[in-house]
């Protein structure tokens, strides 16, 4: 039963609207059958597992991958690079995340994200101007022309990666993101090899850059990661590599979906779009509600139990694979009133869209700022925007879910 439901969730046919399936799933907060994963679909259960020290993110603690539709694949961080902090437990996770945070956020760099505001604004204007310059307003692909290039440029600038190299690592990033995608019918060996190659190539590319920055540091994060010497000491080269790979990929593959899902939702709710146009500050609650309503990361498939633990009356054995269905928890009527309603006026919106607990999204402040700026500017500048296809074509990925293209048209672009 669960397996069948999981297959349906993974099935591309349901990508555009997985929410009825999640609703079905929530009837059993912890579901499991055969030797598949334990799937947790309700808000409070997910939330408490995200704060439970008996839950590990380190794949070493998985007993058997069994019939786990995701477990078939080799660890995509495999033999080429050590796992990033995303896939580590404390204390290593804490140390690496702390060191990564030093150049990025408070307390040591409290202004970094905020100070990027003008730069981000410039990028957004530039991209929208670019769309205007094409003169083709009857068919705009909001993904290719805006939602993808924007965060990619931002993460490249932040890390200090030459934007010209983007086409090269675009391919690697896509491959690596795709490796997260559960595709039960793919040939696992093929899949695994492509992933390993991509990691290898990305690793070598970044290693070259880090080497350069060690010699001639700039004020980008790559330099700071390569040369940091805070209380935790310096990162090893391998650690700096896997950390920067993580940031680069996460910067590529998540904010894109947040912005695209956001614009899609706004176009489906024109009254909210109009309000945003009149009041750009509304972008803040809109983005929060989006993270609840259409989160870019739908589920976390890589946790495991360090002990037998009881969740909602079910004993999950030690070493079991857990799937935490964030997007389902976000629509749990036990937690959110009328959860299928997109309502930016919602109070008390502690969603799971950015995770929670020690692995909660590292880039959250940047992602929020990017999405807020992007959506308020699109709302302000596009005249009479409308969807050309609803639903739009989606990416294959069920974990990092979002439209592959978002074809829209508009009547004009305001200056």
């Amino acid at each position: 039963m669960t397996q069948a439901l999981l297959r349906e969730i993974i099935d591309y046919a349901n990508r555009a609207n997985p929410y009825p399936l999640y609703e079905e799933l929530r009837k059993t907060p912890v579901s499991h059958d055969g030797d598949g994963p334990y799937v947790i679909s309700t808000y409070y259960e997910i939330h408490s597992l995200l704060h439970d020290p008996r839950i590990s993110s380190d794949a070493k603690n998985l007993k058997a991958t069994g019939n786990d539709p995701l477990g078939e694949q080799p660890d995509e961080e495999g033999a080429t690079l050590p796992p990033s902090f995303l896939k580590l437990d404390p204390p290593d996770h804490d140390r690496l995340r702390r060191m990564t945070n030093r150049p990025f956020g408070p307390p040591h760099a409290p202004h970094r994200v905020h100070d990027m505001r003008d730069e981000l604004g410039g990028l957004v204007s530039g991209l929208i101007d670019g769309i205007a310059d094409t003169g083709q307003l009857d068919r705009i692909d909001l993904v290719d022309q805006f939602a993808y290039p924007f965060p990619v440029t931002v993460i490249c600038r932040l890390l200090g990666i030459p934007r010209e190299d983007e086409p090269r690592f675009h391919v690697w990033a896509e491959t690596l993101a795709a490796s997260l995608d559960p595709d039960p019918d793919a040939d696992p060996t093929q899949h695994g090899k492509g992933t390993m190659d991509a990691r290898m190539e990305l690793g070598m590319y970044l290693a070259g850059l880090i080497e350069e920055r060690r010699k001639k540091p700039g004020d980008d994060m790559l330099s700071q990661l390569a040369t940091a010497d805070g209380p935790d000491g310096a990162m090893t080269t391998m650690e700096a590599l896997s950390t920067s790979a993580l940031l680069l990929i996460a910067g590529h593959e998540t904010t894109v979906n947040l912005i695209t899902n956001g614009m899609l939702t706004l176009l489906r709710h024109p009254e909210v779009l109009q309000r945003l146009r009149d009041d750009p500050d509304l972008a803040v609650p809109i983005v929060e509600e989006l993270l609840r309503y259409e989160p870019p990361v739908q589920l976390l498939p890589q946790r495991t139990t360090l002990s037998d633990i009881e969740v909602a009356g079910v004993t999950i054995p030690k070493g079991a694979s857990l799937w935490l269905m964030l997007a389902s928890g976000n629509r749990d009527p036990k937690r959110f009133e009328d959860p299928n309603r997109f309502d930016p006026d919602r109070k008390d919106i502690q969603h799971l869209g950015l995770g929670s607990g020690i692995h909660s999204c590292f880039g959250a402040p940047l992602a929020r700022q990017e999405a807020q700026l992007a959506l308020s500017e699109l709302a302000r500048r596009l005249e009479n925007p409308r969807l050309l296809e609803d639903p739009p074509p989606y990416r294959q990925n069920a974990v990092l879910r979002g439209p592959r293209h978002l074809p829209i048209a508009c009547d004009g672009i305001r200056p």
Partner: protein, 467 residues
Amino acid sequence: MTSTGTHDGSLERLKREGRIVVVGASLAGLRAAETMREKGFAGSLTMIGDEPYEPYDRPPLSKQVLLGNAVADHTALPRRRAIDADWRLGVPATGLDMAARRVELGNGDAVEYDRLLIATGVRARPWPNAEEGALKGVFVLRTRDDGEGLQRALAAGPRRVLVIGAGFTGSEIASACRERGLDVTVAERGDAPLVGALGGVIGAVAAEMHRENGVDLRTGVMVTSLEGDPSGRVRAAHFSDGSTVEADVVVVSLGAQRNTEWLSGSGLGAGPRGIACDAGCRAFDVRGIVTDDIYVAGDVARSPHALFGYQFLSLEHWGNAVAQADTAAHNMLSASADRRPHLWVPAFWSSQFGVNIKSVGVPPMGTEILITQGSLAERRFAAAYGYQGRLIAAVTFDNCRWLPFYEQQIEATAPFPPPFSTVDRRPEGTKPMPADFPDPSVPTHGPTITLSGYSPADRKMTFTPGR
């Protein structure tokens, strides 16, 4: 609908035109007043406070204010809503006539009530020798004025500060002094800082923090007297080990006394350990009978907690004041069947020497301790306290994100030692050790939690005089 309140309409009348009086216009008082208005109380509300100020927040007084990062008179508590009250500030309540339902004020006035909430909190325990305590440069820290005075004295660049008592407040003061680059000596009668609240194992870590940060920490000693110069300024302190420390600022941080004297002779069950109340915040009278119109909340309250064997807990915790005020306010306006118990799990935070310390549960009840995550040596850890085979409390140093988990475990009366593995479990976290709390009959600066008595139905319940 069995309650009389609903039957005869008296509850509706109370809500519409009743008179509610709150004594103690600070955190608990304000939050209760806000809740009452939120619940539709439209009658008259009188807020009586002996301090001349609007309600303000105390935790910053020993932290940001001492560092000079916040000004004492800018710590006013944010208002959640308008409460439309008759404020009687700068006037103490001096007596209570329970039969006449009347609070007497220091200025001779009296205010009648239908419901009374007592939230008079605690005050700093003064230096036992009044003459020495009156020397210039000797401070306690409880009020806004205290905070401002002490901050000014620190800003003047004293040669040395002496802090007497290394509880949470004393330790925070020492930390602020070091951050300001001031020389500071801390004198603690117990074996380590924070022992009363967290036990000896954690106390040892705290002691290390003091010393590494350049505090001259003296434990196992008492200050026996303070000495002034001819102009009446403090200049030195004499210790029980015969030593002398020269200091031009002395902060007496010896715990607190409950503000209950004004109730003596009123017939209310109020004493040095606070005002006993039931789990619904209704005060007991001296006969052990619960009143129906007098409620208590905050630091001054002492209430039984089902989770901790119905022990009466007095907590000097910010979060407790807020939660208890909310419950009291709700119950004051509810029929008996709708009342709620105050089942807040005790939780406390502190920040000192750059370390964030948090606890849940009742650590002093614990007999054993286990470092469940992280390590004492790194000063980043979570530790669990055990009592008769169950988890009774937990503390974290720079690791508070795991605390909600331990709180859940405490609520679920989970076993101790915890039978499970966790991330960040180190070798030192495999065997429990004695938590090492001092003998309660030997005073330290005074723990922030005191326990006494058992079930409210227990006929052996007595008031133990304060120590």
